[in-house]
Symmetry: C2
Subunit: 200 residues, 2 copies
């Protein structure tokens, strides 16, 4: 139960966000096993002992990074599906949401893809549950489009194709590079909705 935010509490909260931000950046650049607690502490201007005042273990830190990465786009997908718009509109929104996350929270999404396999019990179970929920929602969105009957193919394989197309962006997209995030976002959304899952 949160009480009135004193200046002390507010500072502590900000520091916790800084922990997750630093861990996300380092895990993305060097990988989970390639990042030491000392690296993280140094990045935050602390000693390793001080870091352990805030987090229980390196695994907990990974869990927080993963949760922080997946939560916003899981919640938005829930909302998109709950809106109950027609299948193709829902699809476009779901694809837009997924791609937008990959492009704007690149580090968090990269860590999600690359490092989640290093998450151990007991955190693992909860995390897998959330991932399964996302998959289930996304599969439903695609299945609804295919149910209209105007695009042939295996729903699972089409879903995996679309996800690959979107998820791979984190491997090559460079913020501030030759192409803007919006440009990639619009082009790829179009590729998926109009070509990959376009009416035959």
């Amino acid at each position: 139960m949160p009480d009135t935010p004193t200046s002390r509490r507010r500072q502590a909260a900000a520091t916790e966000d800084a922990f997750i931000a630093a861990a996300t950046a380092l895990f993305a650049r060097r990988g989970y096993h390639g990042t030491s607690i000392a690296d993280l502490a140094a990045e935050l201007g602390l000693t390793t002992a001080s870091l352990y005042y805030h987090v229980a273990s390196k695994q907990e830190l990974l869990m927080r990074v993963l949760t922080n990465g997946i939560t916003p786009y899981l919640e938005r997908l829930e909302a998109i599906v709950a809106a109950g718009t027609d299948p193709r509109t829902t699809l476009r929104a779901a694809v837009h949401n997924h791609l937008s996350s990959a492009l704007h929270d690149q580090d968090a999404v990269a860590v999600f893809h690359r490092e989640r396999r290093f998450l151990e019990a007991p955190h693992r179970e909860l995390h897998e549950q959330r991932v399964a929920r996302y998959d289930q929602l996304f599969t439903g969105v695609i299945a609804a489009v295919l149910a209209e009957g105007d695009v042939p193919g295996d729903p699972d394989l089409l879903r995996l194709a679309a996800l690959g197309l979107m998820n791979w962006t984190v491997e090559w997209y460079e913020p501030g590079g030759r192409r803007s995030a919006d440009e990639v976002l619009e082009t790829f959304t179009g590729l998926i909705t109009d070509r990959l899952l376009g009416p035959a």
Copy 2:
């Protein structure tokens, strides 16, 4: 200069292949930084000291795994392009080759995607060169198709879309699972050549 293969030499060669195979499997499962030299030695029934009789460093081992993974499909792509068939036939062959590697040499390709960023100098340069060569060839194949004018879009983005679709298979495909490699291979080749890069 290789002399006549005595039984001793043949055994040594076989052992070296075993090193790469074991390293590929372990790096794929646990990651480069998550795999210790001791893990590798144990897998091979050796001590760490013995392992260092055969390889100079862990980095060299990574380089060998990466080279071993990329070489066959780079060579095949060279041959496909050199064949000089018409653009769409060439495309289909290039896509087929790429996907086939991802599905059949899954571990090697996974290590290639996930761990190559941990390769340091001096190996890094040669490796990057080979990757750039592959990219260049593949881009050329796609550009040739687009040059025919019957499919609109940015060649680079279409290439990245196609690569994402193919490369992502290593993250979900399970050999011996519900779907055969051939089934995925045929479906995805079709998705790319007929829908993603299909005539408008």
